[in-house]
């Protein structure tokens, strides 16, 4: 494949602390830096095509290291409010709440997209592990089938996300049934949202769109954009954490055409799994940390 692919990975070592949320756990920087470096190694090892890896350092705490294909750019989260407002592209993004974590995650991707030189862009988390190099095949399939994007996951629509956008969503899911579980969600298999665990599209996808946070999490608007424009897209299954679909395990392995493609290790940016301050006594959290590090070590 001769096309350049830009892989955008946000990084934050203490995202909750930086925006001073009350009771928000503090993450342990060294773990997240180490894990992110392992993920970069994995990309360089498995994805053997023409690529650039862009780390968007939201908390300005990622080390100034040199690795193959790597560029580190500074995100906006650690900037002063005035510096953010004075960014030339600030008006484009409709930032309405500086205390919204999903907004900072989304904005990290948007900053990365500004710096990206690729024909195609992959937005991903810093805890996504590639098992196989299927990107070239995906891009070919996208071109043949006119797909706007391929994404993991297929997120459920939260009740509050529905309420905040009900005029838009009503067009696509007129018959609404709610479940109170999992924080309240819309019971429908008709629509699930894209996310940025893994999100592959042409760079031109962002000509009339930026990675949004208005539906309650990162990049759900990509799905709405395609539905509104009548464009095709593909979500990778199985659809973990979406109670409208039954999944047999909790490994977060995603398949592409029956081949094991990626594992979302669930322990990186925005997961708060490395909290030591408040969650020190939480055995479940410590178990998650252990599981994540064990899997990472095993895979990398």
């Amino acid at each position: 494949m001769d096309k350049l692919v830009s892989i955008i990975i946000p990084f934050a070592s203490n995202e909750g602390q930086d925006i001073k949320l009350p009771n928000h756990p503090i993450t342990t920087s060294c773990n997240i830096i180490y894990n992110t470096i392992q993920i970069i190694n994995n990309i360089n090892k498995v994805l053997t095509f023409n690529k650039e890896i862009i780390i968007v350092d939201n908390t300005h705490s990622f080390p100034d290291i040199v690795m193959p294909n790597l560029r580190i750019v500074k995100g906006w989260q650690a900037l002063d409010r005035e510096q953010i407002i004075n960014q030339p592209s600030f008006e484009k993004y409709n930032i309405d709440d500086f205390n919204n974590l999903s907004m900072w995650v989304s904005m990290a991707y948007n900053v990365g997209i500004q710096h990206a030189k690729g024909d195609y862009i992959i937005c991903q988390h810093n805890d996504v592990f590639y098992h196989s190099n299927l990107i070239s095949r995906m891009i070919k399939d996208m071109e043949i089938n006119n797909l706007e994007y391929i994404s993991a996951d297929y997120k459920k629509i939260f009740l509050s996300g529905y309420v905040a956008n009900k005029e838009v969503l009503y067009k696509h899911i007129p018959s609404i049934e709610f479940s109170p579980e999992d924080g309240g969600y819309v019971k429908t298999k008709a629509i699930g949202f894209a996310d940025c665990y893994f999100f592959l599209s042409k760079k031109s996808f962002y000509d009339d769109y930026f990675v949004d946070w208005g539906y309650g999490d990162t990049n759900h608007g990509a799905t709405i954009k395609c539905l509104d424009q009548g464009k095709q897209f593909l979500h990778l299954g199985p659809y973990y954490d979406n109670p409208n679909f039954k999944t047999e395990n909790s490994d977060h392995d995603y398949l592409y055409k029956d081949s094991l493609f990626i594992t979302h290790l669930k322990g990186g940016f925005s997961e708060d799994k490395y909290a030591e301050d408040k969650y020190n006594e939480n055995k479940i959290n410590r178990k998650d940390i252990h599981n994540f590090q064990t899997r990472l070590e095993k895979l990398c």
Partner: protein, 229 residues
């Protein structure tokens, strides 16, 4: 190698020669020496004997008001206990490895059913607990896997309504509100973040949003209200 016989300890089967040796025979000394030299194997053949006795070809072991059925492994498979009047008051089921799979017990008018997840050598962990009274569900609790942390709790309040609580895996309340008996959301509902901050409030009638929803940011500050009519 030896095998203990099921209903007597006064003889043993030599599986190499396929002969039975009685304790008054000269060859019995060979067995006792083997037994002393192979403590673990002796323990194992004793366990095998007990398992086979317990299994009893799958037949029920009846003792007083209790019935027990065993797997071939020797682990209990099914346990029932009856009251003096003959009604079932305890019924437990077990996985093949002996870990508990489900329990049922009757306490007064209340019946309590629990289901468990098999965690192998770590035993079982509780999955759900349901309280019923004369066939009517009074309270149900769902647990997070491999922990004793409550995920959802539903409790019947009247013939029309039940209260619903949903919790994060750190034990923090995630949502609370009322359900009608068809499990449709009704009345006022509140949702909270992992760090106990209000996220949204809504009003429902038979599962439909009515009146106004109120949305809050991650600091718990009001951001938006949406009218549903």
């Amino acid at each position: 190698m030896f095998k203990k016989l099921l209903f007597t300890d006064k003889c043993i089967l030599n599986t190499d020669t396929n002969t039975v040796i009685f304790d008054f025979e000269e060859d019995w000394k060979e067995y006792t020496k083997w037994s002393q030299d192979n403590i673990e194997s002796e323990y194992q053949i004793q366990q095998d004997k007990q398992a086979e006795l317990s299994w009893n070809q799958g037949a029920v072991h009846k003792r007083g008001s209790e019935d027990r059925i065993f797997h071939k492994s020797g682990h209990i498979f099914d346990y029932k206990k009856y009251s003096i009047g003959g009604s079932l008051i305890i019924h437990n089921k077990y996985f093949y490895n002996g870990n508990v799979m489900s329990t049922y017990r009757k306490r007064g008018y209340l019946e309590i059913k629990e289901t468990y997840i098999d965690n192998g050598s770590k035993g079982s962990s509780i999955n759900s607990k349901v309280f019923t009274n004369n066939g009517t569900e009074r309270k149900s609790i769902k647990y997070y896997p491999n922990s004793n942390i409550v995920q959802t709790l539903i409790k019947r309040l009247s013939i029309e309504f039940q209260i619903f609580h949903d919790y994060y895996d750190n034990g923090v309340l995630r949502a609370q509100g009322m359900l009608n008996m068809q499990n449709k959301m009704t009345g006022n509902w509140s949702f909270y973040s992992r760090d106990k901050i209000i996220e949204s409030t809504h009003t429902f009638e038979k599962g439909k949003l009515i009146e106004k929803s109120y949305l809050y940011n991650q600091l718990g500050e009001f951001t938006k209200s949406v009218y549903h009519g």
